[in-house]
C-alpha cells in the first residue's frame, strides 16, 4: 500500500516516460531483494553467533585483558596468548588427550556401529528390539549417561566392580587412576555413540543393490570376502561421512568430563573444549581461551575442508 502511494507521489514529479518506468523498476528491485529478505533472519543469527564469534576470537586472542579490568586495560600482545597456550602443559596434555580420545573412540565406535548394523538389518521383531537397545543410549543426554556411568565406575560398590568381583576380578579405580580414567571416558562415549552411527550404516546397507551381493554369492565369496570386497567398499561414502560427524562430535562435547572427572585426575581426562571452558569460565583467562578456541576451530575447519566434497555432495539436490 505504502509502496503504491510513493509511486503515485513520484508520478507527479517525473515526466511521463520516466513515470511509466519507475514502478516497473521498483517492482523489479523488490523482486530482486525478496530472496535476501527471506534469508535475512537466518543470516542475522549466523552473523551474530557463527561469524562474529570467529572475528571476536581472533581479536581477543591477540590481546590481553586481566580479569576484572575495563576496556582501558586491554593491551595488544600479538601472538603472546598463543605462545602462552602452546607452552601451557595443561593445553598440551588436553590436545594429546583429545587425540587419544578421538582415535580411541572413533575406531571401536565405527567397528561396533557396522557390526550392529549388519546384525540388525533384517526386519523382524528381534532385530527391531535390538535396534532400539543399541540406539537408545544416543537419545539420552550425555549428562545423564555420565550420571549412570558415575555409578557404574564407582570403586567397590559400583556396577562394574560389583559384577567383576563375582567372577573374582578386582577392578582398578576406573575414574581415579590417571592411566585408566581417559579409557573409562572413552568406554562411555563408545556406548553412547555406536548406536547413532549404526543408523547410517543400516541406511547405507539398504542402498547396496541386491544384485551386487548376489553376484558375489554366486562367485562363491564367503561372508568375510563379501564384507571385505563388496560391502565395505560400497559403504565408503557412509564411513567418510560418519568419520566427519564423529570427529566434530568428539571435539565439541565434554559434558561427561564436566560431570565425571572435571579433567582429572591430574589432567588425565582434560579435553580441548574442557580446557577452553575452564580457562574462560573458571580462570577468567579470556585471551588464552580465545587462542585455544581458535586453534580448535582451525582443527574443525581442517577436518571439514578435507570432507567438504562429501558434505557438499550430500547437500546438493
Amino acid at each position: 500500500m505504502s509502496l503504491a502511494g510513493t509511486t503515485q507521489a513520484f508520478d507527479g514529479i517525473e515526466n511521463g516516460s520516466a513515470a511509466k518506468m519507475q514502478p516497473r523498476w521498483r517492482r523489479r528491485l523488490r523482486r530482486r531483494l525478496f530472496p535476501y529478505v527471506l534469508l535475512a533472519p537466518s543470516l542475522l543469527f549466523l552473523g551474530l553467533f557463527t561469524y562474529l564469534p570467529v572475528v571476536r576470537v581472533v581479536v581477543e586472542s591477540l590481546h590481553d585483558r586481566p580479569h576484572g579490568t575495563g576496556a582501558a586495560m586491554v593491551s595488544f600482545v600479538g601472538f603472546g596468548n598463543y605462545s602462552k597456550v602452546l607452552a601451557d602443559p595443561a593445553f598440551r596434555q588436553a590436545a594429546l588427550n583429545n587425540l587419544v580420545y578421538a582415535l580411541g573412540t572413533l575406531i571401536p565406535t565405527l567397528v561396533l556401529a557396522l557390526a550392529f548394523a549388519l546384525a540388525v538389518q533384517r526386519s523382524n521383531r528381534f532385530s527391531a528390539v535390538l535396534r532400539t537397545v543399541f540406539f537408545l543410549p544416543s537419545l539420552v543426554p550425555l549428562v545423564a549417561a555420565a550420571s549412570l556411568f558415575f555409578f557404574i565406575f564407582l570403586p567397590g560398590v559400583g556396577l562394574l566392580d560389583y559384577y567383576l568381583a563375582k567372577i573374582g576380578i578386582t577392578g582398578p579405580n576406573w575414574l581415579g587412576d590417571s592411566d585408566i580414567a581417559l579409557w573409562s571416558v572413552i568406554g562411555l562415549t563408545v556406548w553412547k555413540n555406536a548406536g547413532y552411527y549404526m543408523l547410517f550404516y543400516i541406511a547405507g546397507l539398504q542402498n547396496i543393490p541386491h544384485d551386487t551381493i548376489e553376484a558375489a554369492l554366486i562367485d562363491g565369496a564367503n561372508a568375510w570376502q563379501r564384507l571385505r570386497y563388496v560391502i565395505l567398499p560400497a559403504l565408503l561414502p557412509t564411513t567418510s561421512f560418519v568419520v566427519v560427524i564423529a570427529l566434530i562430535n568428539l571435539l565439541t562435547s565434554v559434558d561427561h568430563v564436566i560431570v565425571l572427572t572435571r579433567g582429572g585426575p591430574s589432567n588425565a581426562t582434560n579435553l580441548l573444549l574442557y580446557y577452553i571452558f575452564q580457562s574462560a569460565h573458571e580462570n577468567f583467562e579470556i585471551g588464552k581461551a580465545a587462542a585455544a578456541t581458535l586453534l580448535s576451530v582451525a582443527v574443525l575447519l581442517a577436518i571439514s575442508l578435507a570432507s567438504m566434497r562429501i558434505m557438499g555432495r550430500g547437500a546438493q539436490p
Partner: protein
C-alpha cells in the same frame, strides 16, 4: 546369536540398573546397590525424594520453554531460507549456501567463549532466550527444508500464483502443509539436541530458578557424591531421560528416519 544377545544385554545394562535402582527401597543398603535383581517391595520414595530435593518441576518447565521456543523461531527461519534456496534464483546464491554450510562445522559448542560475550552484550545473559539465541539460525534445518521443498511438485504453487495468492500465502497454505514430513524430522532432531544440551546453558544461566534439566541433573549427581543416595540419583536420571525415551519408543520409525535424514541430507 548368543553373542549378539549378550552384547545387547550389556548395552542395556545401564538402563536396566537405573530402572531397578530407582524403585529400590533405601534400606537395601549400598552394598547391593549395584545388583540388577529387582527388590521387593518396590517403592516410589526415590522419585519423591528426587522431585523434592531438586526443583525438577521448574527444570522441566525451563527445558520445555527453551526447546519449544527455539523450535518455533527455527521453524520460521529455516522455512523462509529453505524456500529461498529451493525456489528462487538470485545472485550469490551458491556463496550464501556455503555461508550457511559453514555452520555445520563451526558448531556453536566450539564457540562458547565468544558467544557468551555476545550474549552478555545483547543483555541476554542469565535468560532463557540467551540459551536459545545461538541456535535460531540452523544450517541443518535450512538444508532439510530446501531438500523437502525441492522434492515437491511446482504445480500447486503455480496454480495458487495464477489465482493471485501472495508468496506468504503460497508458503503457508500450499507448501508448508506438504512439507510437513521435513518439518517433523527437523523438530525431532532439534528437540532431542536441545533437551539434552548441557554446556551452553551451564555457561549462560546463573539463576537457579532458570536452570534446565541437564544442569539440575549434573548438580544432583555431584550432590550424590557425598551421600549414598544412589536410588535417588537413578530416579533423577530416569526423570530426565524418560520423556524422550517414551516418545522415541512410541514413534520409533519417525525418529529413526529423521536421524538418518539428518545425516544423509545435511
Amino acid at each position: 546369536m548368543a553373542l549378539l544377545a549378550t552384547v545387547a544385554f550389556l548395552w542395556a545394562t545401564p538402563f536396566l540398573w537405573t530402572l531397578v535402582a530407582s524403585f529400590r527401597p533405601e534400606g537395601a543398603g549400598s552394598v547391593n546397590m549395584a545388583s540388577l535383581v529387582p527388590d521387593t517391595p518396590q517403592t516410589l520414595d526415590n522419585f519423591r525424594n528426587a522431585l523434592e530435593s531438586g526443583a525438577f518441576g521448574l527444570y522441566y518447565l525451563n527445558t520445555i520453554i527453551v526447546v519449544l521456543g527455539l523450535l518455533a523461531v527455527q521453524c520460521v527461519t529455516v522455512s523462509l531460507a529453505g524456500y529461498a534456496f529451493a525456489r528462487l534464483r538470485f545472485p550469490g546464491r551458491d556463496v550464501l549456501f556455503y555461508v550457511f554450510l559453514l555452520q555445520l562445522m563451526l558448531v556453536p559448542p566450539a564457540l562458547i567463549v565468544p558467544n557468551l560475550r555476545t550474549v552478555v552484550d545483547l543483555g541476554l545473559y542469565d535468560t532463557l532466550p540467551g540459551v536459545m539465541a545461538p541456535y535460531f539460525a540452523s544450517a541443518f534445518g535450512t538444508f532439510l527444508m530446501r531438500q523437502t521443498f525441492l522434492a515437491l511438485p511446482r504445480d500447486f504453487e503455480e496454480a495458487a500464483a495464477i489465482d493471485g495468492a501472495p508468496w506468504w500465502a503460497i508458503v503457508w497454505y500450499v507448501l508448508l502443509p506438504m512439507a510437513q514430513p521435513g518439518l517433523v524430522a527437523f523438530a525431532i532432531v532439534s528437540v532431542t539436541a536441545h533437551w539434552n544440551e548441557f554446556l551452553w546453558p551451564l555457561m549462560v544461566i546463573n539463576d537457579p530458578a532458570k536452570q534446565t534439566l541437564t544442569i539440575g541433573l549434573a548438580a544432583f549427581t555431584r550432590g550424590a557424591e557425598g551421600g549414598k543416595e544412589w536410588g535417588v540419583l537413578a530416579a533423577g536420571t530416569l526423570l530426565v531421560m524418560a520423556p524422550l525415551a517414551v516418545v522415541f519408543v512410541a514413534f520409533q520409525r519417525r525418529f529413526v528416519d529423521s536421524f538418518v535424514f539428518s545425516g544423509v541430507k545435511g
